[in-house]
Structures are given as structure tokens and as C-alpha cells.
């Protein structure tokens, strides 16, 4: 990650509420507790679109034995907030893409439609494939910044006030594996230039 370019301040667009008065409405909770979304009202997606998004996001990051998934973390509501405060062009892309995957799912199933959209993840060439990258990015951003993602799934131990930094108690022994070998699950395409304001 580049240093300050990674934290480059994106001037909040004119559609974004003032930081002090924003009622972002998404609940937050202490680590590890379930979160109620009862106090959030959809700003952009219709209830039907939100339901579709919720299902898709849960397929991207599902619940498992270790931790809840995107549904429990209300990631679709996070997506609604982010898209609702993006440009009209971005909003149009999301709406049209959800329509596209809905139509695709009518041919077989939502799971198969998602699989089809993800088939060319490294080099998307169609609108459906480009949507998958945007969907995944939004899901990842929303899940791993949620209480569930941070505390239950990754079990992040930081953001603390320590009196000393422990360093490394014992350097792990070298694993007997070929150095630098890619495991084949790595993308080469750059982040999607679609579905988000630059």
C-alpha cells in the first residue's frame, strides 16, 4: 500500500453529509456481540435490491464454524450507505448490475449466476464480470471493517494501549517450501475502475 496515497483524502462529495451531522445509522457494537440493523433506513437500494445484495454478499463471505458471514455483519447496509453517497453514475452502475445478475439468476440460480460472474475474475470483460469484482470489493471492505469481521473472524488483537512492545518471542523455523511460489489464487487485474468514484 502506498503511504499517504493510500490515505489520500477523498474530498467528501457534495452529496455527502457533513461529518459532524451525519447520522450514519449503521449500528456499531462492542466486540463480539450481535448487531441490530433495526435503526437503519435504506437510502438508495430498494428492499428487494437490498435482499438480493445481502444474499450475494453472504455467498462471497459466508458464515462458517469460525465466524458469522456478511449477512450477520449487515454488509449490504454498508453497501447502501456507500453507494447512496456516491455519484449518480456509480449508483446507476450498481442498479443496472443488480438487474443483470437477477436476470442471469432466472436462467438457473443465484449461486450459478454468481459463479458465472466470477469465472473471469482476474480479467473481467463483461458487465457481469466487472460487477463481481465490485461486489467482492464492497463485501470485503464492509465485512472486514465490521465488528464481526475484525473481532470474531480475524480476532485482531491490536488498537490497544501497551506499555511495551513484545517484539518476537521466537522466530519461526523456516518452512521447507519453495520460496516465492505463487499458489495460483492471486489476481493480476487491477482493482475495478467501475462501480466507485475515483
Amino acid at each position: 500500500m502506498k503511504r499517504r496515497t493510500a490515505i489520500k483524502i477523498v474530498a467528501l462529495s457534495a452529496v455527502s453529509p457533513n461529518l459532524d451531522t451525519l447520522t450514519y445509522g449503521l449500528c456499531h457494537s462492542d466486540a463480539g456481540t450481535a448487531c441490530s440493523a433495526g435503526n437503519y433506513n435504506l437510502r438508495f437500494f430498494t428492499p428487494e435490491e437490498n435482499h438480493l445484495l445481502d444474499q450475494l454478499m453472504e455467498m462471497v463471505i459466508p458464515a462458517d464454524d469460525h465466524s458469522p458471514g456478511a449477512h450477520a455483519a449487515h454488509v449490504s447496509l454498508f453497501a447502501d450507505l456507500m453507494v447512496s453517497t456516491s455519484s449518480a453514475a456509480v449508483q446507476k452502475q450498481w442498479r443496472e448490475a443488480l438487474k443483470l445478475i437477477q436476470e442471469e439468476s432466472a436462467k438457473s440460480s443465484l449461486a450459478e449466476a454468481l459463479a458465472k460472474s466470477a469465472a473471469n475474475e482476474g480479467h473481467p470483460t463483461s458487465d457481469l464480470e466487472r460487477f463481481f469484482r465490485a461486489l467482492k470489493h464492497m463485501t470485503v471492505n464492509g465485512y472486514y471493517t465490521s465488528s464481526i469481521g475484525i473481532h470474531q473472524d480475524l480476532q485482531y488483537q491490536g488498537n490497544a494501549y501497551l506499555t511495551a512492545f513484545p517484539g518476537c518471542a521466537q522466530v519461526p523455523a523456516e518452512q521447507p517450501e519453495e520460496p516465492g511460489k505463487k499458489t495460483g489464487d492471486q489476481l493480476h487485474a487491477r482493482s475495478s475502475q467501475h462501480f466507485c468514484d475515483k
Binding site: 500500500m1 461529518l19 465490521s146 480475524l154 491490536g158 522466530v171 523456516e174 518452512q175 520460496p179 492471486q186
Partner: protein, 540 residues
């Protein structure tokens, strides 16, 4: 009508340079006013420790840093005929020291002699030996952790606080770099590892770049300005955006016209000496906007050099997920961001077909977010598990490489496009050179060699397009030996306006691969001593 007081010195900007100037000149007995375009954000208001889900956009739209970028400062700039660069214009008491990574490295002797050593650019008008006493003084003043590793390329001082303990990922990196003959040393940072100068030590939360909420990271607002205030001769004027430096009939500086950003009222301050510390782009903007009959081309700009030679650092690195740490139980790795540093080493391997080098900063990114999740293919349960098990092995290398100082790269002002206060905005014009591209390609090659010697999955971070400046932009009001290609002498004094000084990064003749802030502060200290001596002699 009450008389407007005349100050001995008006300083513009309260960051790394302005803070040093304020403290030194006040302690030297000067009556000083400091104009700062932003307002103070108290440490208690910092958002550093907020969890992402406590922020409106989960921190993804820069909410933690937003309080430091006040007004329209982020948008009132234009990039024209530009490669992929961005400049960091902040507006807050303390400047960019409010939220920086605090790596403080001395320039090496060779870094002041690009022409003599490499046949490019120009030599600085001073040597390392002349600046060395000021490096020593400023390091002791601000508190620096680290140690002397005996490397000429990163000269060391005599008094450092204990270095930061190395993480397991850094020990593993050391195994790889040692085998390649590449040095890895403890980083030097303006971070306190014990109580120092009345400030508490670091608590290792990893939020340096969101702002240190206890003052363990050097912050001009916390560590310098209070010392100026204790003298009783210091006035801090917040929300004061300098519009123009005013001159008298002889063309000497006589004060500053500024806008109160809250009331939009125009005001003036009178001063015998003006010190500009607004940072590279804003300082050039101010001088170019300070036209007068005596300075029709902008203040101190009869040779057309003000605004020119804009450069900074090129970047790009890699995230590596070390196999040896994969699947480990989660443990707190935050620390003080980078604890180690790979200093320049390309000069050790014989002559190159380009000039300059790079260094790698290590682990200055957050451990909270799984960056690889956006680069790993797939989705579903197996993907989710892979993200989780790889996370403990996170190691990040970020390069900062030298960029050439060339006059065609410059900052201008557009009188037809003004900010919300009616001040012409800066326009950035910048293209990388052949030397820059050659250096970048070799840096990328070398980075992948290092990664190939680490067991793990590598995610290169460098795009296909070369980018800059990593907030290290310098050079637009440069000092130099040649009056035709420089504005300042070695004491940061404008040749054409002897009571005008510029001590921020804009005064740099050239840039090395090292972070500029320590050198900015050392130059400021030297300039402050010079001003005091000139005043004593009646020259100012």
C-alpha cells in the same frame, strides 16, 4: 485607532519547519507571530483509536484524517500535464507532523553532491559536515529512537532512544536480506520509546499516520509551539490563510496580508522578517501570488525559478504473506508502524545506468485490515478461511526512490481559478524523467528479488504507471550555488529579499531517497541561528 504592532518575525506555517523556527526565534528573544491557515485539533479529539465501525464510512473515506484537512485545501489545486502524482496539502496547527510516520533519516554526504558524484542536477550550497551539528541538535530536541549501524548511507547521531523491537516478520526478512547482502537496520523515528522532554512514550497502537493521541510521536503543535509560547513573546494566529507577502518601496518584506478563514475578513500583520514554512506547493503558491511593482514575477522571482524543480519520491512496494507465520494464532503486531528499514544498497553493486537509489520502509501499513483479501481470487468458505490464515504472516515493503529535480516540473498559479477565499490556486505540472523510470524499473526488479527469497505469497503494489510523491514533495524555492538556478542561499535566505526566508521542503536543491523531514528541521535550525546572528550584527 490602535496601532498595529510590528513583529520581529512573521512565520507562515506551523509544521516541521515553522515549529522549529518559532521555538528558536522566540527563545532567542524575538517577538514572533505565526500565521497558520488551519486551526488546532487537540489530541483529545483525534480519531486514531476509533474502530472502523465507529466511523461514518468505516474509515474508508479518510475520516480519521479529515479534521486535519480543513476548508477546501484538498480540492483547490489542479494537476495539468501530469504523470500520476499527488501532493499533500494539510491545514492544521502542527502541519503534517500531526499525522505522519515520523521516520527521520539524515541525508548522507553524497546526497548533497549529485552533480559532483553523478553528473546530474546540482550540488547543494552546503555539505553534510556543515549541517551535521544541526542534525545532532534537532535529533536531541525532538527525541529519536534507533541506533548507529555504522553505515555511511544513513549517518547516525550520538544520542538515540532505545530502538523499536523487531517483529517476527522482520526477523524473517532479516534472514532473507542477510543472505542477499542487503542491510536491514532498526528504523530511526521521532517516536519516544521512553519518557522524554515531558512527553509520554509510545503505546504501540500502530496509528501513527492517523495521529498520535498522546504526543509520543513528534508533533510540532505539541512539542515545539508550547516552548515558543512559554517565552511570552509568541503569538499564534489560527485560521489565518496568507494571501500575499507585502513589500516596501525597496522591495523588502514588510508583512503579510492574510484572510481570516472564519470571517473571510482581510487583515495584515507587519514584521521585520518573514519566514515561509507552508510546505512545498503552498510556499511556491504564496511567493508567486505575491506580485508587486518591485517583484512583477512573484516575490524573489526575477530569475523565474520560484515554483520550479518540483520533485518528490517515487513509490511502489509489495505485500508479502509469510509462509512461516501462516495459521499462527492472532497476535498484536501493531507497534509503531515501521520498526526496521532497508537503507539504500544499489550503490554497493557497481555503476548503474541511472543516478540515485531507493530505500524500503517496512510495515507502515495497518494490521487490522486484510489487504490481501482484495487480491486473492475466489469467494466463499475456502476463500474466507484463506484470508484468515494468511493474515498473521503480513509483511509490507514500501519503496521511496529518488526523483530528479528538473526545472520543467513546476508549480504555477492560475489567476482565473481561485479558492473559496479568492486566492489563485496552485497548478502542478510534472513528468518523470528517463532517469526516474530507469531507477523505478531497477527498484521493482530488486524488490521482486527480495520477495523471491521470502517464502510466502507476494502481492506487488506497484502499478503499471510510475507514481509519486508520497507526501515528500520538495524543491520549488530551492537553495543553490548558482543565482540563475536558485532562489535561496545556504541559510534559506532569499537572495533578492534579504529579510525573507523559506525553510520548508521547498528549499531543497535535490532529493535523496530518504525522507526529507529531519533535513527540513535541521535546515530550519541552521536558518534560525543565522537570523539570530544577523540580527545581532544589525544586518536584519
Amino acid at each position: 485607532m490602535s496601532q498595529t504592532p510590528t513583529y520581529d518575525v512573521c512565520i507562515i506555517g506551523s509544521g516541521a519547519a515553522g515549529g522549529v523556527m518559532a521555538k528558536e526565534l522566540c527563545e532567542g528573544g524575538a517577538k514572533v507571530i505565526l500565521l497558520e491557515a488551519g486551526r488546532e485539533v487537540p489530541l483529545t479529539k483525534f480519531l486514531s483509536h476509533k474502530w472502523p465501525y465507529e466511523l461514518p464510512y468505516r474509515g474508508l473515506r479518510g475520516e480519521k484524517q479529515t479534521p486535519f484537512y480543513q476548508g477546501d485545501v484538498s480540492s483547490s489545486i489542479r494537476y495539468q500535464d501530469c504523470d500520476s502524482v499527488s501532493v499533500d496539502r494539510i491545514r492544521v496547527v502542527g502541519g503534517r507532523t500531526v499525522h505522519w510516520n515520523a521516520v527521520v533519516l539524515r541525508y548522507a554526504a553524497r546526497d548533497f553532491k549529485e552533480w559532483s558524484m553523478n553528473g546530474i542536477e546540482e550540488d547543494w550550497p552546503l555539505t553534510y559536515d556543515e549541517l551535521e551539528p544541526y542534525y545532532e541538535r534537532i535529533e536531541q530536541m525532538i527525541g529519536v529512537c534507533g541506533q548507529d549501524d555504522g553505515l555511511d548511507i544513513v549517518p547516525a547521531g550520538k544520542h538515540y532512544l532505545p530502538p523499536l523491537p523487531w517483529r517476527c516478520s522482520e526477523q524473517i526478512l532479516d534472514r532473507a536480506t542477510k543472505a542477499m547482502g542487503i542491510p536491514l537496520i532498526s528504523v530511526r523515528k521521532a517516536v519516544l520509546t521512553k519518557v522524554y522532554d515531558g512527553r509520554p512514550p509510545c503505546h504501540y497502537c500502530g496509528h501513527c499516520m492517523s495521529g498520535c493521541d498522546v504526543g509520543a510521536l513528534f508533533n510540532s503543535a505539541v512539542a515545539m509551539l508550547p516552548k515558543a509560547q512559554r517565552t511570552g513573546t509568541f503569538t499564534l494566529r489560527q485560521n489565518a490563510l496568507a494571501r500575499k507577502i507585502l513589500v516596501d518601496q525597496e522591495g523588502l518584506a514588510r508583512g503579510v496580508s492574510f484572510v481570516d478563514t472564519q470571517t473571510k475578513q482581510e487583515q495584515e500583520v507587519k514584521a521585520k522578517v518573514v519566514v515561509v514554512c507552508c510546505a512545498t506547493v503552498e510556499s511556491a503558491r504564496l511567493l508567486l501570488n505575491s506580485r508587486s511593482s518591485k517583484h512583477p514575477n512573484g516575490l524573489a522571482n526575477s530569475n523565474g525559478v520560484v515554483g520550479r524543480y518540483l520533485h518528490g519520491h517515487l513509490g511502489g512496494g509489495a505485500n508479502i504473506y509469510l509462509k512461516d507465520l501462516e495459521g499462527a494464532p492472532p497476535f498484536n503486531q501493531d507497534g509503531a508502524t515501521d520498526h526496521v528499514y532497508i537503507p539504500r544498497y544499489n550503490h554497493l553493486g557497481g555503476k548503474k545506468d541511472y543516478a540515485g537509489g531507493w530505500g524500503f520502509q517496512v510495515n507502515f501499513s495497518s494490521y487490522m485490515f486484510p489487504h490481501h483479501a482484495l487480491s486473492l481470487s475466489g469467494y466463499g468458505a475456502a476463500y474466507k478461511e484463506r484470508v484468515r490464515t494468511m493474515q498473521p504472516g503480513y509483511l509490507m515493503l514500501g519503496a521511496f526512490g529518488k526523483v530528479e529535480a528538473r526545472p520543467e516540473n513546476h508549480v504555477s498559479v492560475d489567476p482565473h481559478q481561485v479558492d473559496e477565499y479568492g486566492i489563485p490556486i496552485p497548478v502542478v505540472h510534472f513528468r518523470f524523467s528517463e532517469n526516474d523510470f530507469a531507477l523505478w524499473h531497477d527498484k521493482n526488479r530488486s524488490l521482486m528479488e527480495i520477495c523471491a527469497n521470502l517464502k510466502g505469497q507476494v502481492f506487488p503494489d506497484f502499478d503499471e504507471a510510475l507514481g509519486g510523491f508520497a507526501s515528500h514533495e520538495v524543491g520549488t524555492i530551492r537553495m543553490g550555488k548558482n543565482p540563475k538556478t536558485s532562489v535561496l542561499n545556504s541559510f534559506c535566505q532569499a537572495r533578492e529579499v534579504k529579510n525573507l526566508f523559506v525553510t520548508d521542503g521547498s528549499c531543497f536543491t535535490t532529493s535523496s531517497e530518504k525522507n526529507p523531514t529531519l533535513t527540513i528541521m535541521a535546515l530550519s535550525l541552521r536558518a534560525a541561528d543565522y537570523i539570530k546572528e544577523q540580527k545581532r550584527r544589525g544586518e536584519l
